[in-house]
């Protein structure tokens, strides 16, 4: 069996250990940290309670996506976890637009690991106790002792399953990974690579900054209008976003299934009766659906569910995303357990 498929099955049925080392991590502190961070974020940081995390974007002046970020309010300072295609631009961008706060690159000092899957919570329960069951999406637990390793835990992820990001000191990273794998043995935890995570993102239509995120000419093409606050003050990209709100987007992201099962190349033209109506920006083969799936940025008047189009000569149908029904939705941590649930992987 394909190694990626094995990893995918472990994540979708049990739990997968993932590496967040590609994330950029910063601390923003100082008296003006909240105001300054608000100026470089699409979401409203001023409404973020201490101990909570905001999932939002940072934008370029022209309204395109700079980074997909998690912002953790640690009380007077914020931790910024960022995924960006423009890696070298991010720190100078924050420093330029948030001059009233102190920016520190935390990446050399810390290690970030992820554990995702319908039983990720059960693996962590073995290590930090039942409190993990009460941790809700975008909540955090600080200074949890896993062995003697001080670990911060964020409930977040991009697989659609229970997901947790674990942060420790860089020198403890290998030991923390070993402990997670040891505790995860009864749950058949496996390492999962970035290709597997990208497929899970696609299946749930979570933004991939390297694909649809890079292709969109305005962040609103990614279907994120609910993130835009009319009450927050000025922020980088605001003018472009508000113009787009007023005039409407030219293209919108929509899901596609490809009938033949063949995965067309990303960047392929999407057409209707010979007319070019957009581009396929992300594509993969979903083992859960046993089908080729993709996301396309289509001209706004064509970007609706239930339409038959062509992608590189293949028949495609627009569908609602998320594409899959994640197993985690069917799990009740108070009642279920990896050992008692009988799931065979059905492609």
């Amino acid at each position: 069996m394909d190694d990626n498929k094995k990893q995918y099955e472990r994540l979708r049925l049990g739990a997968g250990l993932t590496d967040y080392s590609k994330y950029q991590v910063f601390e923003l502190s100082g008296a003006g940290a909240t105001t300054e961070l608000n100026r470089v974020s699409l979401g409203d940081v001023t409404r973020l309670p201490i101990g909570r995390v905001l999932a939002t974007y940072m934008l370029n002046e022209d309204g395109t996506l700079l980074a997909d970020v998690l912002l953790w309010n640690q009380g007077g300072r914020f931790m910024i976890l960022a995924e960006t295609k423009q890696a070298e631009s991010l720190a100078p961008f924050i420093a330029k637009h948030a001059p009233g706060a102190m920016l520190k690159d935390l990446a050399p000092e810390i290690c970030l690991l992820g554990i995702d899957g319908p039983f990720a919570w059960e693996v962590l329960k073995e290590l930090v106790g039942v409190r993990i069951l009460g941790l809700r999406y975008l909540e955090t637990m600080s200074d949890q002792k896993i062995g003697d390793i001080s670990t911060d835990i964020i409930r977040a992820g991009k697989t659609g399953e229970y997901g947790y990001i674990l942060k420790c000191r860089a020198e403890d990273g290998a030991a923390l990974a070993a402990r997670l794998l040891e505790a995860g043995k009864p749950f058949e935890v496996a390492h999962c690579n970035s290709d597997v995570l990208d497929l899970c993102k696609l299946e749930n239509r979570f933004t991939n900054v390297f694909k649809e995120g890079a292709a969109a000419k305005n962040v609103l093409e990614l279907n994120c209008r609910v993130q835009v606050s009319s009450e927050k003050g000025d922020y980088v990209g605001r003018e472009a976003v508000e113009n787009c709100m007023e005039q409407g987007v030219s293209h919108r992201l929509i899901g596609l299934t490809i009938a033949s099962g063949k995965v067309p190349a990303e960047g392929s033209t999407v057409s209707y009766k010979g007319e070019d109506i957009g581009k396929l920006v992300s594509a993969g083969f979903s083992w859960t659906l046993d089908s080729a799936i993709g996301l396309a940025l289509l001209s706004h008047e064509y970007s609706f569910v239930g339409c038959d189009y062509d992608v590189a000569g293949e028949k495609a149908k627009t569908v609602s995303a998320p594409f899959v029904l994640n197993k985690s939705i069917q799990i009740r941590p108070q009642e279920d357990s990896f050992k008692s649930v009988d799931w065979s992987f059905k492609p």
Binding site: A55, Y137, E301, Y302, V305, C307, A321, P322, L325
Partner: protein, 93 residues
Amino acid sequence: MDDLLQQRINRRKQTLTDIKVELADRLQLEVSPENIDDDTYLFGGGLQLDSIDSMEIIIGMQAKFGVEVPEGDITPLRTINTLADLVEAHQSA
């Protein structure tokens, strides 16, 4: 765009608009219907609704569209588009 596709899209647009208006009104959402994207998640990082809201959605779908969400089936309760799928399936049945 030919007439057939235009009709199909117009029907979908109307269903989506009706759902957004119903939810915004019933749940007293801070966001206006025109600022809700079709693929917006109802729970989690989207509209950030909760389990009480999900009961209101089920009641609203019955009242507005005569559609029953099958007991235990959470598939339709994920985004505006998945609710529209349910309504269209009911209308074409």
